[in-house]
């Protein structure tokens, strides 16, 4: 198991050092600094073995988090734990920066004591932790006996992510379907790979211990219902259903129920959480098509023309459109003409960045650039990195639709109809690249 956990700043100075096991000595802290943080080479692996001690590390902005161990630990678990550790810290004090870590070091030690025991991760749900690890440490003593046992039963209980007795005057639910659409396209317009990775993010403000059920146009569910019903509804919805390649759920979702009935039922945590993640690869709506044309004119000039076409309903608007066209390192000057938006050559980034604020569906726009190059003797060819694109669209490129989100709370007197629900779809570009 995890033998020690260290947090360093960008210089390699130790901010937090907590040793859980006897086999990790003080010198382990230095070994990681010398061999990884101060190493000349770029990091070649997130797992490093130094003198029979394994270090698993992640980086958050300038901060390094490293777990050290001498055993054959479950490496995936250690990384998941480090991510979780970052989440917990962020939930307590915001951004993980050197200043924030230093400002909260007592709290961090307290957290590390609680969520990692002898190197074994323990309950690390912020909701539960915040009930008894607070920044005002004094509060802890004033819990009544009932409160204490409520805390412990929540920390160890089956529903560790929610406490009892939550009350809201207005029961409200916000549901965001956030998708990132990824594309790799050949210069000829052939889709080399495309997939959508989506998340269903919720914000719930519900009283009591509500039982929720979430439904979407999952092909498997719709087909199953289709067999039972067999009305025109099937033809209509069957067409709109989507094939989900795989999905994962927040730990509040009853996995065995999903496995047998494919229904998503859960008691939600209070506040923000990510209910599910999913991935689709079939019938993806690619919101934009990028058509590049690169011509090398002699050894010192390059002509680039890029056309973008929007491919969705003309009533919808895409926002924050940005096209990034890489330029060779030897670029000396760039001349740009674009029909829409603003374009700039950014020498420090070796790219032309073309920004368009808004663009409706079924439109097209183009940019042309003339790039002057310095003559060089360098035999090495320019690698021609792909043209990448960013955008945001108000629909789900996978075609996912929320069918229902039902809330039942048998003990309190509010019903599904009383809950105010908000649903929003946002599609963003993930890695959206076209080779040129």
């Amino acid at each position: 198991m995890i033998g020690g956990l260290f947090i360093y700043n960008h210089k390699g100075e130790v901010l937090i050092s907590r040793v859980y096991r006897d086999d990790i000595g003080r010198n382990a802290v230095d070994a990681f600094r010398v061999n990884v943080i101060h190493a000349r080479q770029q990091v070649r692996s997130p797992v490093t073995n130094i003198a029979r001690t394994s270090f698993l590390h992640v980086k958050r902005s300038n901060i390094w988090l490293a777990a050290a161990t001498k055993q054959n630990v479950n490496a995936t678990m250690v990384f998941e734990f480090l991510y979780k550790m970052c989440d917990v810290m962020a939930a307590y004090f915001g951004k993980i920066s050197e200043e924030n870590v230093k400002n909260n070091f007592v709290l961090i030690y307290e957290l590390l004591d609680e969520i990692l025991d002898f190197g074994y991760p323990q309950n690390s749900e912020t909701g539960a932790l915040k009930t008894f690890i607070t920044q005002q440490g004094i509060k802890s003593q004033h819990h009544t006996k009932e409160e204490q046992s409520q805390i412990t039963s929540q920390v160890t209980g089956q529903i560790g992510w929610r406490r009892e007795g939550i009350k809201y005057r207005r029961n409200e639910l916000f549901l965001d379907v956030l998708e990132s659409v990824n594309l790799l396209m050949s210069p000829q317009g052939q889709v080399l790979s495309a997939h959508v990775s989506g998340r269903v993010v919720m914000k719930s403000y519900l009283s009591g211990m509500p039982e929720c059920k979430f439904g979407m146009n999952d092909k498997i569910v719709i087909d199953k219902q289709g067999k039972g019903g067999g009305s025109e509804d099937v033809a209509k919805s069957g067409k709109q259903s989507i094939a989900i390649d795989d999905c994962t759920f927040h730990q509040c979702v009853r996995l065995s129920k999903f496995d047998t009935e494919r229904s998503i039922s859960f008691i939600p945590p209070d506040g923000d959480y990510e209910l599910m993640r999913y991935r689709t690869t079939k019938d993806i709506i690619l919101p934009f098509r990028v058509i590049p044309l690169v011509r090398e004119v002699g050894r010192t000039r390059l002509e680039v023309k890029v056309v973008i076409k929007s491919n969705f309903k003309s009533s919808l608007l895409a926002q924050k459109i940005e096209v990034r066209i890489p330029t060779p390192l030897t670029t000396s000057g760039v001349q740009l003409i674009c029909m829409k938006g603003k374009a700039k050559y950014k020498a420090s980034e070796n790219a032309i960045v073309w920004k368009v604020k808004r663009m409706a569906g079924m439109k097209e726009s183009q940019i042309s650039a003339e790039i002057e190059l310095l003559p060089t003797n360098d035999k090495k060819k320019w690698a021609r990195p792909p043209i990448s694109m960013n955008f945001e669209v108000p629909f789900a490129p996978s075609g996912l639709k929320v069918r229902y989100l039902k809330v039942f709370e048998p003990k309190l007197n509010y019903s599904d109809h009383d809950v105010i629900k908000w649903v929003r779809y946002i599609g963003r570009s993930g890695i959206y690249e076209t080779r040129c």
């Binding site: 990384f79 002898f118 323990q122 412990t152 039963s153 790979s193 065995s256």
Partner: protein
């Protein structure tokens, strides 16, 4: 107010000041001071001298301060053991606190204070906490047992904490269960044979129930523990799999990978043709792909594991090659791993896409990655024959880029392509030769030299090219020197007239001016070959070379199986067994994939000549039993033993040496069976019983070209609890075509599992090459013990006592012996005749025998004069053995 100011105090006399502050009257001041101490400790300053002052602050009702003091204690108690005792009282008191959070905090911290004296005081509070009413305290106490075990294992055992821990597996709280499982798993790693966890179907059921309810981390502990369980049959394996598969949808990738581990292990137990097996395979692929959309570090771990899974079960991901295409901004470690998997998944169906990708990669920036991409193109050519031409042309394009390291890497792989497809692509040699000057790495130079030498007859200026390398001969690496020597000798053999001088030159360089013994030796060998017999030299040097294999750098199968048992862990990241990087007792215990009891030997059946009882009895290689030496002499018509001289002569020798006659050596009708023949290893052998001891006599023959070492043998659980009592006595390496005989002593004190057929024994033999599995049917008579003669009275009583439905009758056909000979023969096999009667002209023999496990078998053998068919009636409390006893009778009487 923030805490960062504690990091900034840096004056001299700091310790002194802190000391004063720690003893301040005001609570707040003291707390501030302790914070400063902790900050100083964090950045590595030695603040151990403040120990007594900090401990003084421990008596407080401020939880935050208490935690800080505890933190300090954990760090320094070891260096100040005597003072640490001062803290004990406070701990013991806290363990009685009404607040469960404080009780847990105390027990958690006490376990972290690694001072022997303190641990003694810990026992009582810990015992209470293990039975605490609050689950939070119990789950903390469970981990504390593991802590204590790490400090003083003996004490934990003596105090009975292991039993308390085992009790917690049945706890009502899932998190307590999970922590107990984690603690027990860790403790049992240091006692690999102790069966501490006691995984039986009831406990497994408890774990599976807790799995649905506990935290994500708890699920990981439980799944990792489950993966060590060996289900008793395929039904159990399937039912566990069914309950584990929902975990594949968990958001935590460690839960997913641990579930994958359980499923990959238990797949071994499921019949390949079943629907469930195929459904399960299909279910495994999507979650593995999903892991690749996680954070880069998890992607890396996942890819290292997928690399193993793809080698073990390529069918799972063969359709998914696209997800392994490299993204421009993947971290380099992810890129390199993806590339590896792409090559493994490349096939005729997807080769066009793969090649297009690889060509892209070869123009990237990272040198390692580009090289690997080029190498990958070469490997595709070798793996998928149809693509070879396209690969070669891609490589030529890359050579045209003139990027130095790309060219060199390309030339190295082109050499391999030449080896795989001789006489196909030689037209490109001219292009390769153009780049001769730019090659500065030994690998590339050697590859180019090899190509020139191999195709010297087609290259007009081969002699000039090779001569150019000769100039700096002594500055070259050994690899290049050796290749150059061989290449020039080849050239000479192909064009002797023009190159005599050149070959003289290289031979003298290699033999006279070099310090490298390998080079000198090779030089002298060529020299002598060329000077004595040029024709032979040609045959040797220009002989046809074996083709290179398709799959390279596959992980060796036994290691692969072991690594599959470690999916998700560091071992799977390093691709090394835990023993390679873990010190001490942890993880030294090797894990194995489970073996399917009833069917797993199907694949091995082809290796086996023995496939059923009949076959065993009908083996042609039968030698007369020792007990029947006299009979043998009389029956000269019995053919001499074929092909089995060693064992029989050995046993004869034993008779001679002992000289004591037949009583002292009860040996048996021995079937020499060819047990196993694979990968050049041939094992034949038999079982025998000598002087009350059992042996497995085997003959090992090495028919491979390499020597074999590291032999070991293991038996699967079997009906009679047979286990080897000593390691396989093969101590020296077995050289090619060498044969050795070994006699492996066996006894019957091992674990018992009923096999079908009853006398089936599954054996695994391991050597440096592989693990070999075979099964053999044991002749039952080796279990017949020497004191198997029953008293007459007892016999009569027992015969009556055993119910009649247990009586089974058999016919022994075509036997022409008289009653006395029969008795003699059987007695040699520890089947004792108690009485003989003559009833109406028939001889009735009443006999008894006893098995090693104490089962008595009573027999009545009826022999009618003139009738070659005897009737055998067997009575036994365990009638299932009767059939095998009958078989023994049959074979004993017919030899």
């Amino acid at each position: 107010m923030t805490d960062s100011k504690y990091f900034t105090t840096n004056k001299k006399g700091e310790i002194f000041e802190l000391k004063a502050e720690l003893n301040n009257e005001k609570k707040e001041k003291r707390k501030e001071a302790v914070k400063k101490v902790i900050a100083a400790m964090t950045v590595g300053k030695d603040v151990s001298s403040l120990f007594p002052d900090v401990v003084n602050c421990m008596q407080t009702d401020n939880l935050e301060l208490k935690k800080l003091v505890y933190l300090y204690l954990m760090n320094y108690a070891k260096s100040q053991p005597d003072m640490a005792i001062m803290a004990v009282n406070s701990f013991v008191k806290d363990c009685e606190d009404p607040n469960p959070l404080i009780r847990a905090l105390a027990v958690r911290t006490m376990g972290c204070i690694r001072v022997d004296k303190i641990t003694e005081y810990l026992c009582e509070p810990l015992r209470k906490c293990l039975k605490d009413e609050d689950p939070y305290v119990r789950k903390t106490a469970a981990v504390c047992v593991a802590k204590l075990h790490d400090i003083n294992a003996q004490m934990v055992e003596d105090q009975g904490f292991l039993d308390s821990l085992r009790d917690l597996i049945a706890d009502s709280n899932p998190m307590v269960v999970a922590n107990a499982v984690a603690a027990l798993s860790e403790i049992s790693e240091s006692h690999p044979n102790s069966n501490l966890l006691d995984l039986n179907p009831q406990n497994i059921n408890k774990l599976l129930t807790a799995l649905n309810e506990c935290t994500e981390w708890g699920q990981i502990f439980i799944l990792d523990c489950l993966s060590n369980y060996n289900p008793k049959d395929e039904r159990e394996a399937q039912s566990i799999c069914e309950r584990v598969t929902p975990r594949l949808s968990h958001a935590n990738s460690a839960v997913v990978l641990s579930a994958v581990k359980v499923l990959m292990k238990f797949l071994e137990l499921l019949p390949k043709d079943s629907d469930y097996y195929n459904t399960l395979l299909k279910k495994l692929s999507p979650p593995l792909v999903t892991l690749l959309s996680g954070e880069p570090e998890v992607q890396y771990v996942a890819l290292r594991n997928i690399n193993l899974i793809v080698q073990k079960r390529p069918e799972i991901l063969k359709q998914e090659i696209k997800v392994f295409f490299v993204k421009y901004n993947d971290p380099i470690y992810v890129k390199l791993e993806k590339l590896d998997i792409m090559i493994r998944l490349a096939s005729q169906a997807n080769i066009a896409q793969v090649l297009a990708e690889l060509k892209e990669y070869a123009t990237e920036v990272d040198v390692d990655f580009v090289r690997k991409a080029v190498r990958a193109i070469g490997r595709c050519a070798i793996k998928v024959e149809q693509s070879a031409e396209r690969c070669v042309s891609t490589l030529l394009d890359l050579i045209q880029t003139k990027v130095n390291y790309v060219v060199q890497e390309a030339i190295v792989v082109i050499r391999d392509i030449f080896r795989k497809y001789p006489n196909k692509y030689e037209s490109i040699i001219a292009t390769l030769c153009e780049n001769l000057d730019s090659l500065d790495e030994p690998d590339a130079r050697a590859a180019m030299i090899w190509i020139v030498g191999e195709y010297a007859e087609r290259i007009d200026n081969a002699d000039e090219l090779l001569e150019s390398f000769l100039e700096g001969f002594h500055d070259e690496s050994t690899q290049v020197q050796l290749t150059l020597l061989t290449a020039i000798v080849k050239l000479f053999l192909k064009k002797p007239s023009e190159t005599q001088e050149l070959v003289q030159q290289v031979l003298s360089l290699a033999t006279q001016d070099s310090d490298n013994p390998d080079l000198r030796d090779r030089g002298y060998i060529y020299w002598r070959l060329l000077s004595t017999d040029p024709v032979t030299a040609k045959e040797v040097v220009l002989s046809e070379k074996p083709l290179i294999s398709e799959e390279t750098d596959l992980i060796e199968p036994t290691l692969l199986d072991e690594l599959i048992c470690h999916i998700g862990s560091l071992a799977s990241v390093y691709h090394k067994p835990p023993s390679a990087f873990v010190e001490g007792s942890h993880g030294v215990h090797r894990k194995h994939l489970p073996v399917q009891h009833s069917r797993s030997f199907e694949w091995a059946a082809s290796l086996l000549l023995v496939s059923g009882p009949a076959a065993a009895m009908d083996q042609p290689h039968v030698i007369p039993s020792q007990g029947d030496l006299l009979g043998d002499l009389l029956n000269l018509d019995l053919g001499p033993p074929v092909n089995v001289p060693q064992i029989s002569s050995m046993q004869m020798g034993a008779v001679d040496l002992l000289g004591g006659g037949l009583d002292s050596l009860v040996s048996l009708n021995t079937h020499i069976l060819l047990l196993m023949k694979a990968k050049g290893l041939e094992i034949s052998g038999t079982f025998s019983r000598r002087q009350g001891h059992m042996y497995m006599d085997m003959t090992f023959t090495n028919k491979a070209l390499q020597h074999m070492t590291d032999f070991a043998v293991q038996f699967n659980k079997n009906s009679f609890g047979m286990i080897p009592t000593s390691p396989l006595p093969v101590h020296t390496p077995l050289m090619p075509s060498q044969t050795i005989e070994v006699s492996l002593p066996i006894n019957t004190i091992g674990p018992v599992m009923k096999m079908d057929p009853l006398n089936n024994l599954q054996v695994a033999v391991k050597n440096n090459i592989d693990v070999f599995y075979f099964s053999v049917l044991i002749p039952l008579n080796i279990f017949f013990v020497e004191d198997g003669k029953m008293e007459r009275q007892v016999f009569l009583a027992t015969w009556k006592d055993i119910p009649n439905e247990n009586e089974l009758q058999y016919q022994i056909k075509e036997c022409h012996l008289n009653a006395d000979t029969v008795s003699g023969k059987l007695q040699g096999n520890n089947i004792f005749t108690i009485a003989k009667r003559n009833v109406e002209g028939q001889d009735m023999l009443y006999q008894s025998l006893k098995l090693t496990n104490g089962i008595w078998i009573l027999a009545e053998l009826r022999i009618q004069p003139g009738n070659p068919n005897y009737t055998l009636s067997l009575k036994c409390r365990a009638p299932e053995v009767s059939q095998y006893v009958y078989q023994t009778y049959d074979s004993v009487l017919k030899t």
